[in-house]
Each structure stands twice: as C-alpha cells, then as structure tokens.
C-alpha cells in the first residue's frame, strides 16, 4: 500500500521547546483525515512542515510520493493549502484571486480559465466573478478559498481550520464539498477544533504537547475509550 502521506518520526524544535515530538502516521489516498489538538499542541507546526513551509529538525515524510527532504519542489506542486486565516486578497476580485493562484501553480491560461469558470459555477458564484473578495460573506470566502486550493488539481489538500467562524449551515455545505472532493481521489488533511466535525472524518488523530496521542476511526476510538462522543475523548487529553 502506497500512502498519500507517510510521516516518519517528524520532529521540530524551536530552541529548547519541542513543538512536534517525533510523530509518525500514514494517510491513505482519498482519505479524509482529521488532525485534532488543542491550541498550541503542535498541529500547525506539523502541517507547515508537511507543506514545506518549515524545515523539520529531524525525521522525514513522504508527501504524494515525494520526499520532504529532497523533493520539496514536487511536493509544492502536488498539494493545495487553505489556511486558518482566510488568505485570499480582499482587494482582488473572485476571478483574479483564482487566476493568481492558478497561474503561479503553473496551470495553463486556457485550461485555467475554463476551470475557474466551472468552479465558480459549481459554487453558484459565477455572477460575482468580478466582485472584490472583500465584499462577499465569510462563508463564501472559505468555500472560494477551498475551490482555489483545488484549481491545480492537487493530490492532497491541507485545510487548516477551514470552517472557523462560520455558521453551522455553511459548515455543513463545506463538508459536503470535502466529501465530494475526496470521492474524486483527493486526500483531505484537515485540522479543526469543532468536535462534531471530527466525527465526519474517516480517521482522526489527536495531538497534545507535540505528541501524537492516538489515531483511528472515530467509532473505534469511542469504543476503545468507552465514551459516547469525540468531545469526551478530546477532553481527557486536553485536561492532562
């Protein structure tokens, strides 16, 4: 079995502080993998290393078949990323934001135009293609950012708390999109602090103090821990 994400003994130290403490795990192709943990548990640091934004202190990972240490350029081309903070440009239009990211990911102009068109139509935002992103609601922005991260057809999408700050209806719609995307074979790696969302994931892992505490399907974890919800599992680790 070739994994889409294969993290081996990854470690990151900032001075004396160990932010990520030797984590090892695998994610299958097309899987929706939830990466949970309290604030400061090391999720974002781990994710930044997997995306090539931070260099690991030790350990390695294979992302989309490429080695983090030696093939970071290829990794960058094969992944999409959507950040916790909404990170499109407010003073650019919907179309222009998508054009910007599509182009710097190397999508050919003609193909890109078509994909942007399809994608906006799918989102029901085609009428607003020339509106500035700053003028649309937050929920729209997040769906747009997700669509933008998919323009270059990556193998893996990293979503860093994609639904923070939006209402339940939009979150539901967002998750429908995640399922739809995963069904096409794209691996979804998502961090969240909404525990109900954790239940939507095929497998989850919980990080605490830089360490990976447990990993498995939500159902299996609940049975093992003898609890009814993931929230209770989470509470046990965060309290410690």
């Amino acid at each position: 079995m070739v994994f889409s994400i294969d993290v081996q003994d990854l470690m990151k130290k900032f001075g004396d502080f160990t932010a990520v403490d030797h984590i090892t795990f695998q994610v299958k192709r097309g899987e929706i993998f939830g990466f949970l943990g309290a604030n400061g548990a090391g999720k974002t640091t781990a994710m930044k290393m997997m995306c090539g934004l931070l260099r690991p202190t030790s350990g390695n990972a294979t992302i989309a078949g490429y080695s983090l240490k030696t093939q970071s350029k290829q990794i960058k081309k094969s992944i999409g990323y959507m950040s916790q903070k909404f990170s499109l440009y407010n003073d650019l239009s919907l179309f222009e934001n998508m054009q910007l990211y599509g182009t710097i990911y190397g999508v050919k102009p003609a193909i890109l135009k078509e994909r942007i068109h399809d994608s906006l139509e799918d989102l029901g935002m085609d009428k607003y293609a020339n509106k500035l992103v700053g003028s649309i609601p937050l929920g729209w922005k997040q769906k747009l950012a997700f669509a933008t991260a998919l323009l270059h057809q990556p193998d893996i999408v990293f979503l860093d708390e994609p639904t923070s700050g939006v209402d339940p209806i939009v979150r539901r719609e967002f998750w429908e999109r995640i399922y739809k995307t995963a069904s096409t074979g794209v691996t979804i790696f998502v961090t969240t602090h909404y525990m109900d969302e954790a239940e939507y994931c095929e497998r989850i892992s919980i990080m605490s103090h830089g360490k990976l505490m447990l990993i498995g399907t939500p159902t299996q974890i609940k049975i093992d821990m003898k609890v009814d919800t993931i929230e209770e599992v989470f509470g046990k680790f965060v309290k410690r």
Binding site: F14, K48, C51, G52, L53, L54, R55, K73, K76, K77, I79, Y81, S83, Q84, K85, S87, L88, Y89, D91, L92, E96, Q99, L100, Y101, T103, I104, Y105, G106, P109
Partner: protein
C-alpha cells in the same frame, strides 16, 4: 516568467486599487515642492546691519554705500565703539555688524591688505550664516571693483567665492532633498509596509507554499513602488524646472540613471526592514526612525554636515541619502558628468547589493528556523 508576470499584475492591482494611498503618494511630491518652494524661502532682504567705521575715509564710505545698495542690508546704526554694537544688537534689531579698521584707505593703498571684522547674531544660525554669505559677497564685489582701478591688487582678509548658486536660490537646496525623501517614503516605506502586510495577514505563507520562486514574490513587491517613486521624481523635476526655474545642467539621462540606482538602494532598505520586523506597524516605525529621520538630519539636506560633530559626519556615510544628494546636486547644479559621480553611484549600488543579499538570506533563515 508567466508566474512573475502574474505576480506583477497582482501587485499593480493592489497599488492601483488603493486609491487613497495612490492619491497621497502622487500628490505628496507636488505638495512638498510647492510648500518648500513658496514658504521656505531662505532669501533675506533688508537685514539690519550696524557698521562701526573706525576709518571714516572715502574707501570706507564707498564700502558702506555698496552695502546699502546691495538690497540685502539696511544700515540701522553707526555705533561709535564695540559696546555700541552690542547695544544695537539688543535694541535696534541688528543681525550683523561690520567693523572697518582705522586707516582703511591708507592700509589698502600702502600695505595692500585690509582686515574687516564681521560680527554675527547667531541666535538664528541659519539666518546668520546666510547673512554672513551675503556680506562676504558684497565685500568681494567691493574688492574686485577696487582692484580694477588699483595698480597692484589688494589683498583682502575675507575671501569668499560663491559659485553655482550665486543668487543663493533656495530651490537648489531643497529639490534634491525632496526627491530623496519621496523616494525613501515611496520605495522603502511603502514596500516594507506591503511586504510585512502579507506576512501579517498570512497571504505570504500562501504564496510561499506555492511553487512560485521566492525572488519573484519580492521583485513583484518592489517594482510597482519603484515605478511609482520614479513617477514622483519626474513630477518633482518638472515642477522645479517649470515653476522654480531650477536648472538641470548635467545630462538628464545620467540624472535619471542616478535616481534609478537610488531607488534600488531604498527598495533594498525596505526589503531589509521587512525581513527584520513582523508587523506593518513595526515596519513603519523602523523605517521612520531608522531611515527617514537620519535621512532628514544626516543627509546635508537641511543641516550642513560640515558643522556636525565628527561622529555624526562619520555616521552620515552609512545612509545612502548623503551620497545621493551630493551626486544629485553635482549633476543638476554643477553639470557634472559620469566621470565625477561614478564613485557615488557605485557606493549606492554596492549598498543595494549588500542589503539585498543580507535580507534574502535572513528571510530564508527565518522561514526555515
């Protein structure tokens, strides 16, 4: 290349859509030139002067006539002794006193030398040095008139030669200064703010996650502001030539080349600042304190460097503005060519290269830490 083109388009969108900032940036040079040009006139007319004439002979009379006729001075008193001068400074508002020695005519004719003494009221240093220059130029006129008639030339103890700016036109002094300030504001300040803005909002991380070359991101940030400051420079030059009759004696091409090099230097300063700080506010503060203030104070634009303590004269060398202003004045006022100013251009270029190398390696280090 397509990626770089896209990044550039994005940056131009940012610049062109921020209408308020764009308006401010473009109107700044116009306002500064007009303000400086019309309000800060460093020319003084009819300054009050006291003359202590120990000689009372025909030559001293003719010198005094010359001074009154110059238009710069108005003789308010003829004190009889040195204490009288002090009194006139205090009660008659005299800014300057001239002491003509006894036997002025005789010593001119026989000893071929004359010593004139000037006393300045230095409570306002700028006025004092200006008046000092005026009186020296009047005396110089007198000397040359006298020597034209005399068989043997007479040596005067005051020898001042005013060149390049005989009319002491203040436009000559402030135009290079304004060009420098605007370029620092637009290139260094604006580019450091926009770079740190992207870091602050997280869009920089988005860009760095993509396969796009890091150097494209940086170039994309710098070019629109360099272009904008170039436009500002042109506005300043056109205004100063049309409204204030400032000459451009040297080659215009050389002048523009010099400006482009300085733009690169200030842009790299902006780059270094954004590599050091984390937020827009910090970027602004550091640029203001670390670059803008030293430029105003230590470039020789407002305050002459020669009068500063040695330490500050040395310190001034570190900031690019000093070299730029010297070169700019040389080209505009003296009409110097490349052979006179190549060294300054090289210094500015060297600074830019040094700063770019330092900041790129720093950004890299911070990212991978």
């Amino acid at each position: 290349m397509k990626e770089l083109g896209m990044i550039l388009r994005k940056e131009f969108w940012h610049v062109l859509r921020d209408k308020v900032t764009l308006f401010l940036v473009l109107s700044m040079p116009i306002m500064l030139v007009l303000l400086f040009g019309f309000t800060i006139s460093s020319e003084i007319r009819n300054a009050k002067i006291a003359i202590l004439d120990h000689a009372m002979d025909s030559q001293s009379k003719s010198l005094i006539d010359k001074i009154s006729a110059s238009g710069y001075f108005q003789v308010v008193s003829y004190p009889e002794n040195e204490t009288g001068i002090d009194h006139d400074f205090k009660s008659k508002g005299a800014k300057l006193a001239l002491i003509i020695p006894a036997h002025f005519e005789e010593s001119l004719a026989k000893e071929k030398i004359a010593t004139l003494q000037i006393i300045n009221d230095v409570s306002d240093m700028n006025v004092a040095s200006l008046l000092n220059n005026y009186i020296r130029s009047v005396i110089y006129d007198f000397t040359s008139d006298y020597n034209d008639l005399a068989d043997d030339p007479v040596l005067f103890d005051i020898s001042v030669k005013m060149q390049y700016n005989q009319e002491m036109n203040s436009v000559y002094m402030f135009v290079p200064g304004i060009i420098t300030l605007i370029m620092i504001i637009v290139t260094a300040l604006m580019s450091s703010i926009t770079l740190s803005r992207e870091m602050e909002t997280g869009t920089m991380n988005m860009l760095l996650i993509t396969p796009v070359k890091k150097v494209y991101v940086v170039i994309g940030k710098l070019i629109p502001y360099m272009l904008l400051s170039f436009i500002c420079t042109i506005i300043i030059l056109v205004l100063s030539v049309l409204v204030f009759k400032m000459p451009i004696r040297g080659s215009l091409l050389l002048l523009l080349l010099l400006c482009i090099i300085f733009m690169l230097t200030s842009a790299s300063f902006g780059l270094m600042i954004s590599a050091l700080v984390k937020t827009q506010l910090d970027a602004m503060m550091v640029t203001m304190m670390g670059l803008f203030l030293p430029t105003v104070l230590l470039s020789g634009f407002l305050f002459p460097l020669d009068n500063m303590p040695y330490f500050f004269q040395l310190l001034a060398n570190v900031f690019p503005a000093k070299w730029f202003i010297i070169a700019l004045k040389d080209v505009m006022i003296k009409g110097s060519g490349i052979q006179e100013i190549w060294l300054y251009m090289l210094i500015l270029f060297g600074m830019a290269v040094f700063l770019i190398v330092i900041s790129l390696s720093r950004i890299d280090k911070r990212r991978k830490k």
